[in-house]
């Protein structure tokens, strides 16, 4: 599926490390990803696979002193933000990319009224607007009662807080909204409401969305394309319908089993067996190999290039089960990834 719209966000082989007391953590190991204007893209992976780190890297929000982008590029609407200074970041955040976070209680300032927290975004990004009126509009937009402008976060339910957090981000008038597990802290009914709201908002505002989740079910209902990430590496990506129709990477297959809550003979929920990878080592081969039910000798030796699976170049995977051909390599380049 050739994308006609220009990319709003591009990550190109990004490597990011954290320095910790226990040593270096390689959180992103050559992550590449593209979101086009207006597009809804999912980023899926187990907990600890580097999703939040990737999202934060896009806004320069990883800890300034302990994190470092070692290689690769991050482009926002074509502008390279990989090496921005803190002052430049202050000018760049919020627009055109804004972000909502996982736990809506801890991510709202507990002692500031909801309306004020929204107003701060407006004053920063659209100062000529009539702030109070605009706060009202935004609160209405996320379908909260207007009286909540004067409420404090602790007075709201989980779902309402997530809406409030959404209003804070939307007040920046973003062209891309990054939502980092926006429904993980919520119960199932509220999850569905928030997802429906996100879909509505995207249609109404025409903004792109990068939806981060560990739950493939959420991606199915909300995203056109998706990336599957493990150990800071994208292992599979493509149009949602293609990946869902024929998941290729054993890791993706494992995630599908977990999402459908398949039970094994003992009635336990299926999870992918084994331990998450040690990010302190530079893995030579595929990071998933030690846990992969289909691991082969090659897997430990090197990471394969991407191979395109579907006709129309809409689905690609990096796995030795699908050795890349020359044609597929050029196709991958045309896909704009890897």
């Amino acid at each position: 599926m050739p994308q006609t719209k220009p990319p709003i966000l591009q990550l190109d082989d990004v490597r990011l490390t954290f320095r910790t007391r226990a040593g270096t953590v390689r959180a992103l190991n050559g992550a590449s990803l593209t979101v086009h204007e207006g597009e809804a893209v999912g980023l899926v992976g187990e907990s600890g696979s580097g999703k939040s780190t990737l999202a934060r890297a896009v806004l320069g929000l990883n800890p300034e002193r302990s994190s470092r982008i070692e290689a690769g590029r991050i482009l926002i609407a074509g502008r390279d933000v990989t090496r921005l200074s803190q002052a430049e970041w202050e000018a760049a955040r919020g627009h055109p990319v804004a972000m909502v976070f996982q736990d809506p209680l801890s991510f709202l300032n507990p002692i500031m009224r909801i309306g004020r927290q929204i107003a701060e975004s407006i004053e920063r990004h659209a100062p000529d607007r009539r702030v109070e009126q605009r706060v009202g509009e935004l609160i209405e937009l996320v379908k909260l009662p207007s009286s909540l402008a004067r409420a404090y976060p602790h007075e709201l339910s989980g779902g309402m807080r997530q809406r409030a957090l959404l209003a804070v981000a939307l007040a920046c008038e973003p062209r891309l909204l990054i939502a980092d597990e926006p429904t993980t802290a919520l119960d199932v009914t509220t999850q569905a409401e928030i997802l429906a709201l996100l879909r509505d908002l995207r249609e109404k505002l025409g903004m792109a969305m990068l939806l981060i989740t560990h739950d493939l079910g959420i991606v199915a209902s909300a995203c056109e394309r998706l990336y599957v990430i493990y150990a800071g590496r994208v292992l599979e990506w493509g149009r949602a319908q293609d990946v869902f129709g024929a998941p290729a990477h054993p890791y993706t297959v494992g995630l599908f089993h977990a999402a459908r809550a398949d039970r094994d003979a003992q009635g336990r929920f299926a999870t992918i067996g084994g331990e998450p990878p040690d990010l302190g080592e530079t893995a030579q081969g595929c990071p998933f190999a030690p846990r992969c039910p289909k691991a082969m000798a090659e897997c430990a030796r090197a990471m394969p290039h991407a191979s395109v699976l579907a006709d129309g170049e809409t689905h690609a995977v990096r796995c030795w089960l699908y050795p890349p051909t020359r044609e597929s390599e050029t196709a991958v380049e045309r896909l704009g990834e890897a």
Binding site: E90, G94, D103, M112, E120, R124, E155, V168, A169, C172
Partner: protein, 326 residues
């Protein structure tokens, strides 16, 4: 809010009463003789001591004395100072003013300085500036205040002859109006400096920890993500959240500051409550000691209630809890 206040103050009355009774008994159990202290070493006629003892009611059983004291207290009478030949209430109020004159500006300055220092240091945790500040506040905190006071006197009063060493007024002149105020201010500098250093160290330590804690909170990330400047995030999001524990420390210290100045007042001969306390112990001046205990207990209670109110003003979550429980 009203019910919260009533509940807190209602609880305070039995607490203060208990403090008074315990202190009354302690003072009277501790050996020492107020009459001897009062008459001094002069040879007095044999009946005189007994007469004085009877005059002040000191020949009655301790429990009777306690009962009488509480009865008088209920009538608003704090008694009469043997040593100062003056009603206790007036004496204590006069001295408390001098103490407040010393402590209020010192505490305010310490609070401001401590918070600003912490705000500057915490975002650069681990830097040279931050480590320096931590080390300094540790030193300031552990310096004995009388030692620091004497050091200040030696350097600024005796060696450099810049500031007066002792007291609150220049003794040989009778000043009025602005000259009087300036003179008191002049005498105030050194003792206030000593107190400020001590409290700055305390406030800076607590404030640094709570600013660091607030900085690591998730909402700081939201504030940054919307593009707010570092300064805006620090002053509008981090500081108000960090103030909550700092206010507690300042508020509770404030309650004790009335008598907390004992050492400084002694070193600088500042005529405040602390000074009165020490001389009254020497004189076994029971009514004055009792009065100081009463005032301190009341001050601590009021400071704690005020702290809770400020707390509630800063934190809507506390407000909500307060309404529900009180």
């Amino acid at each position: 809010m009203r019910r919260f206040l009533v509940a807190r103050l209602g609880w305070a009355i039995p607490v203060i009463l208990a403090i008074l009774i315990v202190n009354f008994l302690i003072i009277h159990i501790v050996p020492g003789n107020p009459i001897q202290a009062l008459i001094g070493d002069f040879p007095a006629p044999p009946g005189y001591a007994d007469q004085v003892r009877h005059e002040f009611g000191l020949d009655r059983p301790v429990l009777t004395q306690l009962g009488l004291y509480l009865l008088n207290l209920a009538k608003g009478q704090l008694g009469f100072s043997f040593a100062n030949r003056q009603p206790v209430l007036g004496l204590i109020i006069e001295r408390a003013q001098f103490t407040l004159l010393l402590m209020l500006p010192a505490l305010a300055a310490a609070a401001l300085l401590g918070i600003v220092m912490a705000l500057a240091a915490a975002p650069r945790a681990g830097s040279l500036y931050d480590s320096g500040l931590t080390a300094l506040s540790l030193v300031g905190f552990s310096l004995p205040i009388f030692w620091l006071g004497q050091l200040l006197v030696i350097v600024f009063a005796i060696k450099l002859r810049l500031l007066p060493a002792q007291g609150m007024f220049s003794l040989r002149t009778r000043l009025t109006g602005w000259a009087y105020i300036l003179d008191v201010g002049w005498h105030l500098i050194l003792p206030m400096f000593a107190v400020t250093i001590y409290y700055v160290a305390i406030v800076a330590r607590v404030a640094r920890a709570s600013v660091l804690d607030a900085l690591s909170q998730d909402f700081v990330l939201t504030a940054k993500a919307k593009g707010l400047s570092r300064r805006h995030v620090l002053w509008r999001h981090v500081l108000p959240n960090a103030l909550i524990p700092v206010v507690t420390v300042i508020g509770y210290n404030f309650g004790y500051s009335l008598t907390g100045a004992i050492l400084v007042e002694t070193v600088f001969a500042w005529p405040g409550l602390g000074n009165l306390f020490i001389t009254s112990i020497g004189n076994r001046d029971y009514p004055v000691l009792q009065g100081i205990f009463l005032l301190t207990a009341i001050a601590v209670v009021i400071a704690n209630v005020a702290t809770d109110l400020i707390y509630a003003a800063l934190d809507p979550r506390v407000r909500a809890a307060g309404f529900r429980h009180a």
